[in-house]
């Protein structure tokens, strides 16, 4: 699975059959990146329903903002996964907001949402690895999601998070160590 995918945006400016073009272009981008965006999202929210919903929102934002993407400024993946990150962060934030209200109200009975908090509870029981992932906090999980879900290189992660590449390496080392320990603990 090569992490580098090139999308040809050259036909973006052609005005002929713009809508059809757009739809085709979108479908092309969607098909190219679906797996990576979805897996990134899933690593972070750990729920199929929420992941599907957010993945759709992420692609929606990508398409709406596509004309603001500047090739010279950043790699497409970096730009795209920054959008993905923001969309998911907004979701968590709103979940939090939602929680404040729902604690106040007497009923929160039909909440279908699975916020970051539910990660703690809805452990996928038969999966050691997923269990081990649950010991990570949100930031650590995000890095794992970038590395293994989005399949990004350390240098790309560094650009999105605005930290140095070696810093990403150090963080990854620490997180992997924790994960490994956790899995060995569980195996006992």
């Amino acid at each position: 699975m090569g992490p580098v995918t090139v999308v040809d945006f050259a036909h973006q400016n052609e005005k002929i059959n713009e809508n059809i073009d757009k739809q085709e272009e979108f479908t092309e981008i969607f098909l190219l990146y679906y797996k990576r965006v979805y897996n990134y999202t899933y690593y972070r929210v750990n729920s199929q329903e929420v992941s599907e919903d957010l993945t759709s929102q992420i692609f929606e934002r990508i398409m709406i903002n596509l004309n603001t993407y500047i090739k010279e400024k950043s790699k497409f993946e970096v730009w795209m996964f920054a959008i993905a990150r923001n969309t998911i962060n907004d979701y968590f934030r709103k979940q939090k907001r939602y929680k404040i209200i729902s604690i106040d109200s007497i009923l929160d009975l039909v909440s279908k949402d699975k916020g970051p908090e539910d990660l703690m509870i809805n452990k996928e029981k038969n999966n050691k690895l997923m269990n081990a992932l649950n010991v990570l906090d949100a930031k650590e999980r995000n890095i794992i999601a970038y590395k293994f879900g989005a399949n990004l290189k350390n240098t790309e992660i560094a650009k999105i998070l605005n930290i140095s590449e070696s810093n990403v390496g150090v963080k990854l080392h620490r997180i992997m160590k924790r994960l490994k320990n956790e899995m060995e603990k569980e195996a006992k």
Binding site: Y34, T55, D90, R93, Y98, L107, D108, L109, K139, K180
Partner: protein, 309 residues
């Protein structure tokens, strides 16, 4: 021999990962959650949403109508919820929609659903306060408290996957959430954290003072150029709070909410939405304001809102 081994290893070698963790890394990168997902439906949803992007209001309404059945009346929320969440819990018939710049509120027909049936997996596992097992839950039963077999009080039930969250667990979750929240009690420093001008009300009902602002930390644990500020004003005597959210008005913070009753009012010359007779949403100064007037009522809420200039 050694060289062949080395070459083999390089094939699946993950860049930027130390050798000792390569096994674990390949396990992680081989997990493909997307296999089990509804790729086509995600694609179609997205296509639909962008195609009608030109007409925002239509888009929103279509979106909601399509979501179909729900148990909305059991969710007492007059609240702006993430579109995702809202779509999940909405909706019957739309009676009224009020749309301001970056806020939309929808009033739904009060559907008659007064009870929810428990998922099969939970039948017998949820008890009322007298320890009788429940098959259905009504508002009244819930208000009196529902419990697990072990006698733990239930905070909420996730109907989708049939899990129970007890109050104890909810508390732990809350604690965990605090780690990612920055609390600021000096009201004069708020603008250091935001990308917009946070304005405080100059009027507060008797006994209330500014208590704190909360910001969500980013991945590196900092708060910088936040688009959201959450403000709490507290009456120290009664312990009651007024909650306000201010957010930078842009695409990212666009939100949509549902309520049993919405009404257009005017705050300092701009349109505002009064929902459930006590909560106010409005947009001014490139900022979206949301004021929850639960503890103070409509008149005081409007006074507070009008004092934000």
């Amino acid at each position: 021999m050694k060289e062949i081994k080395f070459k083999k290893k390089r094939e699946n070698y993950l860049e930027g990962i130390d050798d000792e963790f390569q096994d674990l890394a390949s396990q992680l990168s081989n997990m493909d959650f997307s296999k089990g997902s509804n790729k086509n439906s995600v694609l179609n949803t997205t296509l639909k949403n962008i195609n009608i992007e030109g007409d925002n209001n239509m888009k929103k309404i279509n979106k909601i109508k399509k979501t179909g059945i729900a148990v909305a009346s059991l969710l007492i929320a007059s609240t702006l919820v993430a579109q995702t969440t809202f779509a999940q819990v909405a909706v019957n018939k739309i009676i009224k929609t009020i749309s301001l710049g970056h806020i939309t509120m929808v009033q739904e027909e009060d559907d008659e659903l007064k009870e929810v049936e428990l998922p099969d997996s939970l039948k017998g596992n949820v008890l009322d306060k007298n320890k009788n097992p429940l098959e259905k839950i009504t508002k009244d039963i819930y208000a009196q408290g529902i419990y697990t077999k072990d006698g733990e009080k239930i905070y909420k039930i996730d109907f989708k996957n049939g899990t129970i969250v007890t109050e104890e667990q909810a508390k732990q979750i809350e604690e965990k959430g605090k780690e990612n929240t920055l609390c600021v009690s000096d009201s004069s420093t708020l603008n250091q954290y935001t990308c917009f001008d946070v304005k405080l009300p100059s009027y507060l009902p008797n006994g209330y003072t500014f208590d704190r602002a909360e910001f969500t930390k980013d991945e590196s644990g900092n708060v910088k150029d936040s688009k959201y500020a959450e403000l709490y004003f507290k009456n120290q005597k009664t312990g009651k709070e007024i909650y306000m959210q201010e957010r930078f008005a842009c695409e990212d913070t666009r939100a949509e909410g549902g309520s049993d009753d919405i009404e257009k009012i005017n705050i300092n010359g701009v349109d505002a939405i009064l929902s459930d007779g006590k909560n106010i949403d409005w947009e001014a100064n490139n900022t979206v304001y949301n004021l929850v007037g639960k503890n103070i009522g409509k008149d005081e809420a409007i006074k507070v809102a009008e004092s934000i200039k």
